[in-house]
Assembly symmetry: C2
């Protein structure tokens, strides 16, 4: 379940990188050229020495007295996360969550291309959401043979999750992003991220009671 | 933006608590009575001394040579997060994401009660999803005056987010859980959690390239 097995970088560090990436993307859009670890620390609510340690894991990109070059650091983090290339995505389950994910603007245009969605509901099959067609789940094997699919997003009811995860594994998909409310365990050769929406809600409860 | 201002506990610690809570809930369901920090460390991919340090922030619940009592530790974390009581929730925006959140089984039955959803689309107003009615957004002020609403979930298109956040603030709602792809900044007296679905997707890209 750990991401650190082969890379030597701890999971905690990897999980902070998307936050740095998002922050640097915003700075870049605002025209900022450089940023200090002190400013990053303040804006991101993280310890400045931790930020420096994190970025040093990858060789360090800062210069004493200057700080970090925003674009270079962002590009370096993209490379580390391997989000500097395109990934083909399919979505299994085209209910409300699946259709929300077909529309989700944040990864579309970021190198993630949703090729198709799959469902077993005849009322959905053949319809299109955000330019992406919903296909019969029985067609998934042929589809995956004909397309290079990297990532499968699971957005099915919980009863179907484990069968779908097994199917995606059999079809040679490299990664599963699971939104269903049952965890999928990592399996040989297939990376897995289970989304736990509740975690943020619990942090929110803490915050509202400690403001 | 930090959660540590008044509590003295760092945001990083608070953000690990839902993970501990989820893990302990699973252990409890499997009938486990106690757990060591070593086992927690292995199962959660976190450093054992970090786990002990985290739990010591709240006074410590472990006993040397015994480990932690699963139910007591879970209850203690529920108290710290303030999820040991009921919260009334409304959802603004009843598109695919909003309706997925009306159905989401993980917080329903966990003390979070979705009272209603609001939208401006006439095709949705008056319909019901998972026993929850979608009301005209123009009724939200009256609704909030008549009900004790704790949390507002924003699931609108990005153009509407900031107006909705201002409206919720004016209506005296205590917390905003924002799923729209534009960040809401924390405002006086209102706690905010912005959901960044992409972060998990980026970690997944790292994992699939480092397996």
């Amino acid at each position: 379940m750990s991401v650190e097995s082969n890379s030597g970088i701890s999971e905690a560090v990897i999980r902070r990188l998307p936050k740095y990436h998002r922050y640097l993307t915003d700075l870049e859009l605002m025209g900022e050229k450089k940023v200090s670890s002190a400013k990053m620390s303040e804006d991101l609510c993280l310890n400045a020495s931790q930020i420096r340690r994190d970025l040093n894991c990858f060789g360090g990109f800062g210069q004493q007295g200057y700080g970090y070059n925003v674009s270079k650091l962002k590009d370096a983090i993209s490379k580390i996360l391997h989000i500097d290339r395109q990934y083909n995505v399919i979505i299994i389950g085209a209910g409300n969550m699946g259709r929300a994910l077909m529309r989700y603007p944040y990864y579309k245009g970021m190198g993630f291309k949703v090729l198709a969605a799959f469902d077993s509901n005849p009322a959905l099959i053949g319809t299109t959401t955000s330019g992406c067609e919903i296909l019969d789940i029985s067609k998934i094997e042929k589809f995956c043979a004909e397309h290079e699919v990297d990532i499968g997003i699971i957005a099915t009811p919980k009863e179907a999750v484990l069968d779908v995860a097994d199917l995606l594994t059999k079809l040679g998909i490299h990664a599963i992003w699971n939104f269903a409310p049952v965890d999928v365990y990592e399996r040989d050769g297939v990376a897995v991220e289970n989304v736990h929406l509740n975690d943020g809600l619990y942090v929110l409860c803490y915050k509202m009671n400690n403001l």
